[in-house]
Symmetry: D2
Subunit: 135 residues, 4 copies
């Protein structure tokens, strides 16, 4: 089954993200994934920072990453995303492909939950993230 | 079953690792895990950087992280590790506990493989990482 | 006298770059400056990574940064640059302005030198960085 | 004149701090300096995070760094600090020396000011940072 991504963001490797192996350090993929999610939130009118100021913190509860092909200095890439709701979790499926050859670099699954004033809760505002009929 | 950790490293949160939510940004846990593995390697006489210079790159193929309790500014923590060999993979089980209350903050599983001059291979040197009889 | 910038790059704050004060952590401005220089190098046909592979390392010898206005979550900005040669140094004047109001956020001066196989040296290739008649 | 450091902190390079040149990326020195200052604050009973929660933000207004010798994978180092008050500024002189040979790696000057609810102000609490008679 083909993944039905509903958002994608192009980025370029920054040299400071590469480590002494000459490839992007693994932790930076988490940065790429987070930035992609937060930019996606913006397209739905949701600001991660504003949510926090309102006492709502979307946090990652569980993360799985499969590293396929390392990105290197000079590489551009596209970070793609789809999202599903399962109980109180929003599960993001986020994959990264090198450009222009679309070689798969990373496949990941990011389970997020909402903390409202520090307690697990439902944040109906986030349902705006879910795909609409036409997506 | 109790985890039989064979290495542990104490660290302290650095304020620049905290993000606008006031907690350690998730990507920094990957940094903590990596630093713990590399320090563990040193105790077995293996240098990650020297391996790289010899054309051997230990890389993470797959990573799973379960975030339990966030670390905050001022927190100290201990990062614990055990390792198993499965085929050509070295699987690290790495958990992080806040100090002094030993609250579990992160549980992770890190599957690593060896690239020798860029190709998957066996690196017998790494068998030194495996627990000895007495561990 | 007006600064005659010869290169500029637009970027956007990524939330993981903000710290517990809710503003971009100072160290990230160094990242912005480095990324701007390296992208500028690319426009002149020079790759920082390829230089390193050839035994030539452009390194920062001295850096001065004046922090004017902090960047925040959601901010876009433009990073501008000009460069002068003084003896064996290439001095980059790099300033960052918030968009769209062009509020000055950072003014910096970055003195770089070349290490050739680890020793201070001249790297004529870098003279391509200097402004041409029309700039 | 010999610098009269009043605080020092030992640290060790973490491999993820090294970039594709195989040396600590420059931006990480800012991290080292910040962490040293914040740990120094703790010794004087001041928490950077707690200050922020009280509406007081100590921010860097100006920073000068002279890079002398690069730190590498495996290096340990000591980060030393002294501080002076000049008008409303607290000026930190912070130097980093490699261990065990005490080779100077970085010399820096960090000018900080206080923002109280976003406005430049005096924060008498910070006078506790200044050296006492016996230092």
């Amino acid at each position: 089954m083909k993944a039905n991504y509903i958002y994608e963001l192009e980025m370029k490797v920054r040299d400071y993200e590469c480590d002494l192996q000459g490839i992007v350090n693994n932790a930076n993929y988490q940065h790429y994934l987070e930035h992609t999610r937060h930019e996606f939130l913006h397209t739905r009118g949701i600001s991660f920072a504003a949510l926090h100021d309102d006492g709502i913190d979307a946090v990652v509860a569980r993360l799985t990453m499969a590293f396929k092909t390392p990105l290197r200095s000079g590489d551009s890439f596209v970070s793609k995303l789809r999202v599903e709701k399962t109980g109180i979790k929003y599960v993001f499926y986020q994959d990264i492909y090198r450009l222009p050859d679309l070689q798969c670099c990373l496949k990941s699954q990011v389970e997020t939950v909402c903390l409202i004033d520090g307690r697990l809760g439902l944040c109906p505002e986030l349902d705006r993230l879910l795909p609409t009929q036409n997506e």
